[in-house]
Assembly symmetry: C2
Homo-oligomer: 339 residues x 2
C-alpha cells in the first residue's frame, strides 16, 4: 500500500464533498482493526423486543413478509421513539411562529419506521442468503411506495446502523426508513452537482465512476466500487449498471442480485476489518422526479464503515480526512477472500 504517498485533496462530483487523503494520519496511536466487535452482546435475546415472540413489545406493525404468518422473516414496524410524527399537521411557520420570521420552520410531520431484518437475534444481515436479503430490500421498496402515497412526503431515506459506534442503540439486526416532508440538504446538493456534471459532459456522473482501479466486484445488475473521494476508509458504493432513477423501481430479480452483492461486500468488510461498525444509506431521488425530466439522476447504495470518529475539523469544515486512498482500499477489498 502506498502509505508514504503525499496527501491529496479530492472532490467528489456526485455527493459534492471534499476529502483529504492522508496516509500519515493512520500512524497515530490507533489502527484499522476496530477495537471491539460491533455487536459485543449479540445474545441478549430475552430482553429484545425485535425478536420473534416479542412482537407485543414493539410499536405497531405496518406489514410483515411473508404476509399473514406468525413465522415471519421481515417486519416493518413503527419506531417507538419517532423523530417525526405521522399525525402532525404540516404548517409552515409564518403565522404560527411570527418571531422566527427569518427562519424556516416546518412542523415535524413525517414517518419513522424500523425494519426488523430477521426474527432471530444473533443473525446479522450478512448471514442471510442473497434471496433473504432480497426480501429485506423488497420490504424497503414496498414501504417507500406506501409512503409516496402521502402527498406531503417528498423524500424517503432508508438507512442502517450496525454497531454502537455507528449509532445503533439496538443490536438486533434492523434498519430504518424515514419519510420526510422536505428534500434533505445532501439530496439537493447531489441533484445540483449531478446536473452540473451532466451539463458539462453530457454524461451521468455515476455511470462514470466505474474504473478498473476502483472496482471491487460486480454482479448481473450491479457493480461495487470504492468511490474516488471516499469520506470513510473502505467506503463502498453499490451502483446499478443500468442508469436508474429510483431505488424503488427494483424488481424481484434485481433485489436478489443486489442481495448477493451486498452480502459479499458486507462479508468482505467484516473479514478485513473485524466486524466493523458501519452505516448504509440508500441515495435515491425525490418522489416527484421523473426519469425523463431528470436524466442525470441515478440511485446508489453507500456503505460507510465507521473505523474512527470525526472531530472538530470535519464538523467545522465539512471536509473529511481519510487515511486510506480509495485505490488501495479497492485493491484490498478485491482480494479479501470470503469463502
Amino acid at each position: 500500500m502506498a502509505s508514504s504517498r503525499n496527501p491529496e485533496i479530492r472532490k467528489d462530483r456526485i455527493l459534492n464533498r471534499s476529502v483529504i487523503f492522508s496516509p500519515a494520519r493512520a500512524r497515530r496511536p490507533s489502527d484499522f482493526k476496530s477495537k471491539s466487535p460491533a455487536n459485543p452482546n449479540p445474545n441478549s435475546s430475552k430482553e429484545c423486543p425485535f425478536c420473534i415472540g416479542h412482537e407485543h413489545e414493539c410499536a405497531p406493525e405496518i406489514f410483515r413478509l411473508p404476509k399473514d404468518t406468525s413465522d415471519w422473516k421481515v417486519r416493518v414496524i413503527e419506531n417507538l421513539y419517532p423523530a417525526l410524527k405521522r399525525d402532525s399537521k404540516i404548517i409552515e411557520n409564518e403565522e404560527e411562529n411570527p418571531k422566527y420570521d427569518s427562519n424556516v420552520v416546518v412542523t415535524g410531520f413525517g414517518f419513522h419506521d424500523v425494519v426488523i431484518e430477521s426474527p432471530v437475534h444473533s443473525i446479522h444481515l450478512s448471514d442471510l442468503s442473497p434471496s433473504e436479503i432480497g426480501d429485506v430490500l423488497i420490504a424497503y421498496k414496498q414501504r417507500i411506495q406506501q409512503l409516496h402515497l402521502h402527498q406531503s412526503i417528498q423524500y424517503v431515506q432508508v438507512f442502517k446502523n450496525h454497531g454502537a459506534s455507528a449509532g445503533a442503540s439496538m443490536s438486533h439486526s434492523h434498519s430504518q426508513i424515514m419519510g420526510l416532508p422536505i428534500v434533505p440538504p445532501t439530496v439537493s446538493s447531489r441533484i445540483i452537482s449531478m446536473k452540473e456534471y451532466f451539463h458539462e459532459t453530457g454524461k451521468c456522473g455515476l455511470c462514470q465512476v466505474r474504473s478498473e482501479e476502483l472496482l471491487i466486484d460486480e454482479s448481473t445488475h450491479f457493480f461495487s466500487v470504492v468511490p474516488f473521494a471516499a469520506s470513510f476508509a473502505f467506503e463502498i458504493w453499490i451502483i446499478p449498471r443500468d442508469h436508474s432513477t429510483h431505488f424503488h423501481a427494483l424488481d424481484n430479480e434485481k433485489a436478489v442480485d443486489l442481495g448477493h452483492l451486498l452480502k459479499l461486500m458486507l462479508l468482505k468488510l467484516s473479514r478485513q476489518l473485524n466486524d466493523p461498525p458501519f452505516n448504509f444509506m440508500f441515495h435515491t431521488s425525490p418522489k416527484d422526479m421523473e426519469a425523463s425530466q431528470f436524466p442525470y439522476m441515478h440511485w446508489f447504495l453507500q456503505i460507510a464503515p465507521q473505523l474512527s470518529g470525526v472531530g472538530g475539523f470535519e464538523i467545522g469544515t465539512g471536509c473529511y480526512i481519510n487515511p486510506v486512498f480509495p485505490e488501495d482500499a479497492a485493491m484490498v477489498l478485491r482480494e479479501v477472500n470470503v469463502v
Copy 2:
C-alpha cells in the same frame, strides 16, 4: 421543559443546515448525562508528550507564549501526524492525473498544528483563568496571521476536540489549527447563505440571532446563545457584539473578555452535562475577504457537546436530529449555577 412538544424541522440561515427537533427521541434507552466523563484518565502525565519537560517527544515547536522561557504557558507545535504537508507543492490535477479529469484533485499542501493549552496534564481549558484562556486565543490569532503569509493558504480552521467521543486521541488539553489551500464546503455554503440573507433583509444574519429566548449570557464584547436550529443538544454559539469579519482581528482586551465568556460556557456545560465530550470550531472568513466588500460576514465560535453519536440518517440526509429544543437548552444553561 416542553418535552411533549411536537417535532419541528428548522432551517438555520447561517450554516444553511436543517435540523429535526424531536423530544420523543430523548426517551430512547439513553440519557443526556454522558455515561463516562470525557477524560477518564487525566493523570497519565508520565507518558504524555504534551506535558512540560517532554518537549523533545513532540514534533517541532513553532512558538511558545511567553517567548523564550522554559516556563511556558502555551505551545504551538507541528502535528506529528499531519493531515496536510507543509512541504508539498500545490499542483492541480490536469496533467498529473489525467485519468481523473472529471474529478478535482489538489495536492495536500497545507499546515496542521497543535496548540498545547497548558503545561500541566490535569488542567482543562475551563480550569484556566480568563486571561490565560485569552493567551490561548492570542496564540491562535498569531498562528493564523503567520499562516496567512503563505500565498496558497485560503482558510484557517481552528478547532478543539475534548474527550474520546468528540474524537480526541490525546487527553492533555489542546486544540488544532489547519491552514487549508481551499475554502472548505461549510464555509462556501455559509458565505452563500449569509449573503442571501443580507440581500433579502439588508442585515447580517448573525447580528440577528440574538433573542431573549435563546440568549444564555453576555460579556462586554460578546454574547452567547443556543442557535435557533442547533444541530447538537446544548450547542452554544459565542458571537462578537460588533459586526466583525475575521477572528484574528481580536485584540488583547477582547481576548480576555472572550476567555471569560468561553470559560463560563464550558463550566456550565460541564456542570449540567457531567464533563461531556465536546468540540469547538471557530467559523471565520477566508483570508482574502475584506470587510468592506463582504458586509455580511461575521465570525463566531461554535461549541458542540457530543452527547450522542450520529447514524445513517444524518450521514445520508445531512439533517441532524436534536432531542432538545434550543429555547429549552438556553433556559437550562441560563440557570446553571457555576459559582
